[in-house]
């Protein structure tokens, strides 16, 4: 009894630590005050301000565009990488695909910056951000796809060949339909990662282009206004939707670390 009770207290404390800050951000986005200090009253005002903030809207547009482009391309390449990792079972391959996932973001950001400027001689902007986001998203998609392949009966692919399907037909009729939920889930993960990314974007954005996380950061440098709370709340909502979608489409994906 007693042990059960303290276990519950510990669990609740841990969850409070995780979710209370998020909850406060949400609550204060509805606060009818310029300051985040005390609760005055309920208002939609900050959402209205947000809607008329041209810079913020431009940043949000950029973020969505970058997330869409990078997640689509990362899904394509990541799926192929996942299949290759499953098929060829070479350690080197897995290592190469997974390294960007494990690499500290700051390192990846700096090295991409140097690579774009010094090697490719690229002007930093949308293209460089998209390329950077593709780089770190591929690994996530690849892992999700490989995990779902590893869960399939290997003889399914041989059975397809046995039934007269060429390697391409086997992929089209058997492999792809079976891994499709994981491909979509991987794509949604890549989309979310891109949308939320700050560090790597910060290094590869240059001066002209801003994304939502960059914009939020530049705003809180001056003062944390409830407008930041409002935009954070919306971002949170979008991310949450993505996570729910992923867990619905491919229930085993969120367990891939275990």
């Amino acid at each position: 009894m007693r042990r059960g009770f303290w276990l519950w207290v510990a669990a609740l404390a841990a969850y409070a630590f995780l979710y209370l800050p998020l909850l406060i951000v949400i609550i204060y986005s509805f606060n009818d005050s310029r300051l985040n200090a005390e609760w005055v009253g309920f208002t939609w005002h900050w959402y209205n301000v947000l809607l008329h903030d041209k810079d913020m809207l431009a940043a949000a547009g950029n973020s969505l565009l970058i997330a869409l482009a990078s997640s689509l391309i990362a899904t394509l390449i990541g799926t192929m990488a996942g299949i290759a990792m499953y098929r060829y079972k070479m350690r080197v391959l897995t290592f190469m695909v997974m390294t960007p996932v494990a690499m500290p973001e700051i390192l990846l950001g700096v090295s991409l910056l140097l690579f774009f400027i010094q090697v490719l001689n690229l002007t930093l902007g949308m293209l460089s951000i998209v390329l950077a986001h593709i780089t770190f998203s591929i690994g996530f998609v690849a892992i999700v796809v490989r995990t779902s392949l590893a869960g399939l009966d290997e003889s399914l692919f041989e059975a397809a060949r046995d039934c007269g399907a060429s390697p391409w037909e086997t992929f089209r009729h058997i492999t792809f339909p079976l891994i499709l939920p994981s491909v979509i889930a991987g794509g949604l993960m890549a989309f979310t990662l891109s949308l939320d990314d700050f560090v790597i974007t910060f290094f590869t954005a240059g001066v002209g282009v801003s994304t939502l996380p960059l914009r939020i950061y530049s705003m809180i440098k001056i003062a944390v206004t409830p407008e930041v709370n409002a935009v954070s709340t919306l971002l949170m909502l979008l991310t949450l939707t993505m996570i729910v979608l992923v867990s619905r489409i491919a229930p085993n994906v969120l367990r891939w670390r275990a």
């Binding site: 009966d153 003889s155 399914l156 041989e158 059975a159 397809a160 060949r161 046995d162 039934c163 007269g164 399907a165 060429s166 037909e169 009729h173 058997i174 339909p177 079976l178």
Partner: protein
């Protein structure tokens, strides 16, 4: 000419020789079984016939044509996998129709032949179900239907009964026999279960460590094993250390170590002249060929020795007696319990006579 000819095929995985210079001939329309313990190379042979694996040396010929350059999808060969490998995202009807769809047959022909196969496999009411909604036996019939619908020249079966429980397995054995007779297609069956092989096959190749020990009809394999491995692997058998005293045309005289002289049948498959006296080996005899008696009846047999009943296993239809012989060897005798009261004929500790006919058993030389 045999329909399927395996010529000096070898397959290595690193240092391990999975298939070691094997040659086999499989005739059209027969039920052929590759039997052996796990790791003996039987599945590797099956995979090479299907085209999932290629020999390092040797040839596989189907109807006289070398299959080496034919990918699996173009071989007129179908496989029933151990796991059945049914496509989980397709219904039963879609699974069965898949080979015809891949062959790009006209829609109406696909529909008609799928219906026929569903009916033949007694799956008509399951057409729109998914594989996970079926029982093991039904999944098995889907796998068989999918494999047979395109009328292959050869059907390969990789331990298809291993996942079923004992009762269902017996039903499926009878179904397989009937199916094979119905469709007249050559079946190549892989199993490690010797009783299954004996019950189903026209011919059995017993394999051990990548080699074929013996190819024969089931009754010949059981009655006249040519090696200790085959004798031991198929059914139960008693083995007594023995030495040849005289190998004549009509019979062989053996000395059983520590017991004495017996008369045994001539050694099958080995040139009698090659077996000179003094050759060592074992005398092998099936438990059901061994008789036990207390008084006269066994003493009339040419070969008989005294012994003591040490164990008995009552199995309902039969009782197995383990009898200790004078040389310290234990011999098993299997007696039917068809007459009432027979089960209690002998008790543990009884002194009995053990004997067998002069034409029973085989001598297997080293």
């Amino acid at each position: 000419m045999a329909q399927l000819e395996i010529r000096n095929v070898t397959r290595r995985f690193g240092d391990f020789v999975a298939v070691d210079n094997i040659s086999l001939n499989i005739e059209a329309g027969e039920f052929f079984t590759l039997l052996g313990p796990s790791g003996c190379g039987k599945t590797t042979i099956l995979r090479m016939i299907a085209g999932f694996d290629l020999p390092d040396a040797g040839q596989i010929l189907l109807d006289g044509k070398d299959l080496a350059d034919t990918p699996p999808e173009q071989r007129p060969v179908r496989t029933v996998f151990q796991s059945y490998a049914l496509f989980p995202h397709m219904t039963v009807a879609q699974n069965i129709a898949f080979p015809l769809v891949m062959a790009r047959l006209p829609q109406n022909e696909i529909r008609q032949r799928t219906q026929e196969t569903l009916k033949h496999m007694r799956l008509a009411d399951k057409a729109d179900h998914y594989p996970r909604e079926l029982s093991g036996g039904q999944q098995q019939r889907v796998a068989l239907g999918r494999a047979l619908i395109s009328r292959p020249r050869l059907l390969l079966l990789d331990e298809p009964l291993a996942a079923l429980d004992a009762k269902l397995r017996e039903e499926m054995q009878i179904e397989l026999i009937n199916l094979q007779r119905d469709v007249g297609i050559t079946f190549v069956f892989v199993t490690h279960a010797q009783d299954e092989a004996l019950a189903l096959s026209h011919h059995i190749a017993v394999m051990n460590r990548g080699r074929v020990e013996q190819v024969d009809e089931p009754s010949k394999l059981y009655g006249f094993p040519k090696s200790r491995f085959v004798a031991d692997f198929i059914g139960h058998i008693n083995m007594l250390d023995a030495q040849v005293l005289e190998a004549a045309h009509g019979h062989t005289r053996l000395n059983i170590h520590g017991l004495g002289e017996i008369t045994a049948p001539p050694v099958a498959g080995v040139a009698v002249d090659g077996l000179t006296s003094g050759v060592g080996g074992v005398f092998a005899i099936r438990p059901e060929q061994v008789r036990i008696g207390i008084r006269g009846e066994v003493a009339e047999l040419k070969n008989h020795f005294p012994g003591e009943v040490r164990n008995l296993l009552y199995c309902g239809d039969v009782t197995t007696y383990k009898v200790l012989l004078a040389n310290g060897a234990m011999i098993e005798a299997l007696l039917p319990n068809s007459a009432p009261g027979r089960a209690e004929l002998f008790k543990v500790g009884d002194t009995v006579k053990v004997g067998w006919r002069h034409d029973a058993g085989v001598f297997l030389h080293e």
